[in-house]
Amino acid sequence: MDTPVVALDCVSAGYEGERTATLHNVSFQVRQQQRIVIVGPNGAGKTTLLEVINGLLPVSDGQVHVFGKSVAHHGRWLRARIAYMAQELFFQTSTPFLVQDVVLMALFGQIGLFRRPQREHRRRAFEALEAVGMASLRHRPIGRLSGGQQRKVLLARAIAQQARLLLLDEPTANLDAFAKQDVADLVADIEQALDATALIVSHEQGPLTDGAQRVLRIEAGRITCPAPVTPAQALVLQGI
């Protein structure tokens, strides 16, 4: 049997200063090339779940494995190969970074300490920007792009990383309908091109959730939805 891409075993986790854990005894596995949508009310632990999977938040109990490796022991190595899109990340107008550099920086973790980006890395960054249709804007400051364009640049980082696991936290939040469709199409393209698995936190029904094979519903830090269910069933459960 194939090694699961993501495996959580009785995981509990919480933020510093909080008395109660945000995640309680969570266990589940995700196989390759699945798209999982994570739903649940505000504060249920959806973002925490993504942060635990890529090791941004250490667990207080249980174990997390990604690609068969322990996140606790191989966190940095894994993070360099996982694409993560944070919910709140939008670059301000004054951000002094060019689009091409933002994409290239996704590879810095893979390049490693004391080494410099080579021509190969720059080529990968350029091709990733071409793949999301943003190559012509590569010399623009990232903060001068629209929200939808910034999301595309972040997806270009995933392509440059050749990431086989995408952790996307509300990737279409605050975007118009056209931009939502663009992002959904790009995620589908990346999944297909890289045989990638995607875990997507989403509050809203749309093209991203429609393409999911499985839905995880989280409530008060626990997975409450019997998996697998269809996206439509889960959204009914959530009252959307």
Binding site: L56, A80, R81, L89, F91, S94, P96, M105
Partner: protein, 271 residues
């Protein structure tokens, strides 16, 4: 030039140039990482440390400046957590404490403290700089350049977004600690040039001015040291020509560049 003999003018010029480059280069990291308040606290802690060194009649008070500066950077976070206060509040409390401590140490110094070496810690004494001090500044500059050369891409990743950097496999905590250590070393090394009250100006103003002109961080990292160097030279010339304190003249020049840059900023006009 300005009626000064070459053996005084040359180390003064070299010291000013190197201090301007150093402070503003490190200041770029401080400004972008939003550590300005922390840099402020560290520079004043360095003043208190150097004052203690003078009180104890140490041959190199700068070492205590370094120790105090690093100590403040390391303990502010834990203190804020224990006291359940914002770091900014703790920094606000640290500033008067450091100043009071420094002035107390100077008042107890064996050679009437604040009237002698103490004044140079407060306002700077670039005219009194010696060649060994210039060499020390130069070595610190080489060290900073070496660190930036070794960890340049990690610095850039953290400067873009700390969380994004961690999420792409960058050891951001270690890099942030390295930045704080560099700030502490630079503050301790340049304290004698601009003084504890004004070194902060040379760190923050040229970097903030550089951010007004360009959108590419790599260009900011070049422009800020140029503006820092220009601030130091213009301030020095102003001081010598008008018989003003050197530290405040350098700070005024840096502030002039900052206000000019803000007024003429292409970013402001295109916003």
């Amino acid at each position: 030039m300005f009626g000064l003999p070459v053996h005084i003018l040359l180390p003064t010029l070299l010291g000013s140039i190197i201090a301007g480059i150093l402070c503003s280069a490190v200041g770029t990291l401080v400004v972008r990482l939003k550590l300005s308040s922390l840099g402020f606290a560290m520079s004043h802690a360095a003043f208190a440390g150097a004052a203690l060194g003078i009180m104890l009649a140490l041959p190199q008070p700068s070492w205590l400046a370094l120790v105090f500066s690093i100590a403040v950077a390391l303990i502010l976070g834990p203190i804020a957590r224990i006291a359940r206060l914002e770091v900014d509040t703790i920094i606000g409390a640290t500033f008067p404490f450091s100043m009071a401590l420094g002035l107390t140490f100077l008042s107890k110094a064996p050679s009437a403290g604040i009237g002698n070496g103490g004044l140079s810690l407060l306002w700077g004494s670039v005219l009194g700089i010696s060649y060994p001090q210039v060499i020390l500044l130069f070595l610190v500059l080489v060290g900073v350049l070496l660190v930036v050369w070794l960890f340049g891409k990690e610095f850039l990743a953290v400067l873009l977004d700390r969380k994004l950097a961690i999420a792409s496999g960058i050891p951001a905590d270690a890099i942030s600690t390295l930045v704080l250590f560099m700030v502490a070393v630079v503050v301790a090394a340049a304290l004698r040039i601009t003084g504890g009250l004004l070194i902060y100006a040379l760190m923050i103003l040229p970097a903030s001015a550089a951010f007004q002109w360009v959108y590419d961080i790599k260009k900011v990292l070049w422009l800020a040291p140029i503006l820092g160097c220009a601030s130091a030279l213009v301030g020095l010339a102003l001081s010598l020509a008008a018989d003003l304190p050197v530290g405040s003249s350098i700070a005024l020049a840096a502030a002039g560049f900052f206000f000019l840059s803000t007024w003429a900023s292409p970013k402001r006009r295109s916003a």
